[in-house]
């Protein structure tokens, strides 16, 4: 916390000291508060390396006295005869597939709404905005019945197929982004003999990548952490995603090896934090400009 000395400006000792005091007065409480915020998460990570006897003895400590990986080995063995890597792969299938489908279909639809003046556009656009306000929880019962009649229960189809139709939220977000691109680009391409499809693929698609990355991150997060969808549609432990597996693990009925549960819970959050660290810029921009909320 060194005071900054500006060249060519003589800073008196007193005002320098005042700046340091002010800086400490800001940083100390802010740091303590922010550490307090992530403390529960750190606590879980730390506990996953503690021996079982220590977890509930020296509860608040963040430094395991005898660090061990035992919890990870025990957790990885899984439950119900299914190893944990299966759940991990399942989660990647679900979140990866859903993200890919949803982002591409949202981008295509967004382009249609943003750049093509077709008959009925305003009507359909209003319909889309209305669905933005519609909580999906209201639709789960009829959707479940529909998927059951199609024979899709216990498959990933009910979780993945609807993603091919995009999401109103991301369509809207990408639309806003496309609207910010100059129309002259389209016109110039059209003069060069580019059709509408060509304009989308060659001009717009490369330019909307930042918006698509933001949409991809959020879709990935929401599906990675989704609990209700897998709970409704996946009954076979071999198909469980991490959410269902963790819940199965922590079920009071199946016994409670908290070390192993914390280890697997921590592992399940690794991709989330990895994306957070590498793509923070897109996350912050996405939320600040469009008001996305995580959960």
């Amino acid at each position: 916390m060194a005071a900054i000395t500006v060249p060519g400006l003589r800073v008196s000792n007193a005002s320098q000291r005042k700046a340091i005091v002010k800086s400490i007065a800001y940083h100390a409480p802010t740091l303590i508060l922010s550490l307090l915020m992530i403390y529960p998460i750190l606590w879980m990570f730390a506990s996953s390396f503690k021996v079982p006897a220590e977890i509930w003895k020296d509860v608040s400590s963040l430094i395991p006295k005898q660090p061990t990986l035992d919890n990870y080995f025990k957790g990885w063995a899984g439950f119900g005869g299914v190893r944990f890597d299966t759940f991990y792969i399942n989660s990647f299938i679900y979140a990866g597939g859903a993200t890919l489908f949803q982002v591409i279909s949202s981008a295509i639809t967004a382009f249609g709404f943003a750049r093509i003046r077709f008959f009925g556009r305003n009507f359909w656009f209003t319909c889309m905005l209305l669905t933005l306000m519609l909580p999906v929880q209201v639709l789960i019962i009829p959707q479940y019945i529909m998927f059951k009649q199609l024979g899709w229960i216990n498959t990933y189809l009910p979780l993945l197929v609807p993603r091919l139709c995009g999401s109103a939220f991301f369509i809207f977000m990408i639309m806003q982004f496309i609207r910010g691109l100059p129309k002259e680009l389209d016109e110039a391409a059209r003069i060069d003999g580019c059709g509408t499809i060509g304009i989308f693929f060659r001009i717009i698609l490369p330019l909307i990548q930042p918006a698509m990355i933001t949409a991809a991150i959020f879709t990935f997060y929401w599906t990675w952490e989704d609990f209700m969808g897998p709970l409704l549609y996946l009954g076979n432990p071999k198909m469980y995603t991490l959410s269902l597996a963790l819940r199965g693990f922590a079920d009071p009925g199946t016994g409670t090896d908290w070390g192993a549960i914390f280890a697997m819970a921590s592992l399940s959050l690794v991709p989330v934090f990895a994306i957070f660290v590498f793509f923070q810029r897109y996350l912050v921009q996405g939320i600040s400009t469009t008001g996305l909320t995580g959960g």
Binding site: S23, H27, T30, L33, L35, M37, P40, W43, V59, S60, S105, T109, G112, F113, I116, F118, F119, W124, M128, L134, P135, Q137, V138, L139, I140, I141, P142, Q143, Y144, I145, C165, A168, I197, F200, W222, W224, E225, F227, M228, L232, L242, L246, R247, A250, I261, A265, L269, V272, F273, F276, Q280, L283, V284, I287, S288, G291, L292, T293, G294, G295
Partner: protein, 304 residues
């Protein structure tokens, strides 16, 4: 614009067609996964349906049953309590921290990331499982209380405190509204504060006379979004408080819909409850919009 030409040129026709081609993914989904299901659920709300035999028309029986179902009212009470406590808390934290972080100092980016971190994992089962242990009898909170000499509380077993484990979990995830507030704060011109300072305004009156009115559109946006979010909370009540225990004091609405529809296979009753939720959310949103004319932009009071 009033005149509509019926004879379309080939080029115009192809423009219309390509428009529909591009919005086709969403349009198909709108009909198949939204419109038809919502109409179906309206029909289901007036039937008895266990998914095994055909739906039986029962008129308004499901709605009458709701009125007399004590568990239904327990879920309404829990949900209202949860929304009215968790959402204001979340927004107050979000605004307070956003104001703290609205600074050009070094390291602010790191603080922002740390305050936001709980929000990216908060909805996960992993965190719900963790939260259950944070508030467990032997858990982190009781351990810390014991250090200060406060006797331990059975947070999850006590009907008065259990809902607060869910409320604190929700309040803890104030990251998204915080970032939105932060973006809003950056938009407020510094000249306003400078002018106020010249007029001798204190920090408090600057906050109430400048910050809050200037932020009111953002506050309104956050309030609407978060309120809707609050009404549809589900995972937390299923995992942290183990299916709405104790005594249904944490039986959030969507959890009860889930229990009725998918555990008791009362799809008709569940659909009726879901429709009531939809109407309530629409009404609350409408009321918020209605009220906005009196406090967004003009007044300094927080909307209630």
């Amino acid at each position: 614009m009033a005149q509509r030409r019926f004879a379309l040129s080939r080029r115009q026709l192809s423009t219309h067609l390509s428009g529909y081609l591009f919005i086709a993914p969403w349009l198909i989904g709108f009909f198949v996964f939204t419109l038809i299901p919502i109409l179906a659920s309206f029909f289901l709300a007036f039937t008895q349906y266990d998914t095994l035999s055909a739906p039986v028309w029962v008129g308004t029986e499901n709605f009458e049953r709701m009125l007399q179902d004590p568990r239904y009212w327990a879920s309404v009470k829990a949900t209202l309590y949860y929304v009215m406590a968790a959402i204001p808390l979340r927004l107050v934290f979000a605004l307070a921290v956003a104001m703290l972080l609205n600074s050009d100092r070094r390291g602010v980016g790191n603080y922002r990331a740390m305050f936001y971190a709980p929000s990216i994992v908060g909805g996960s089962v992993a965190v719900a499982v963790m939260w259950q242990q944070v508030f467990g009898t032997e858990g982190l909170v009781n351990y810390c209380l014991a250090v200060v000499g406060i006797p331990r509380v059975i947070w999850l077993g006590n009907p008065n405190t259990a809902i607060w484990t869910l409320i604190t979990l929700a309040a803890w995830q104030f990251g998204s509204p915080m970032l939105i507030f932060l973006a809003g704060l950056r938009q407020i011109p510094a000249s306003l504060y400078e002018a106020a300072a010249i007029d001798g305004a204190g920090a408090l009156s600057k906050f109430f006379k400048i910050t809050l009115p200037m932020l009111s559109p953002v506050l309104f946006f956050n309030l609407v979004l978060q309120t809707i979010n609050g009404f549809i909370a589900f995972t937390q009540a299923l995992i942290v408080t183990n299916n709405g225990r104790p005594l249904d004091t944490t039986l959030l609405y969507v959890l009860y819909v889930y229990q009725r529809a998918f555990q008791n296979l009362q799809m008709g009753y569940g659909a009726a409850m879901a429709w009531v939720l939809l109407i309530v959310i629409a009404m609350v949103t409408w009321l918020l919009f209605k009220s906005s004319s009196s406090w967004v932009f003009y007044e300094s009071k927080e909307g209630e």
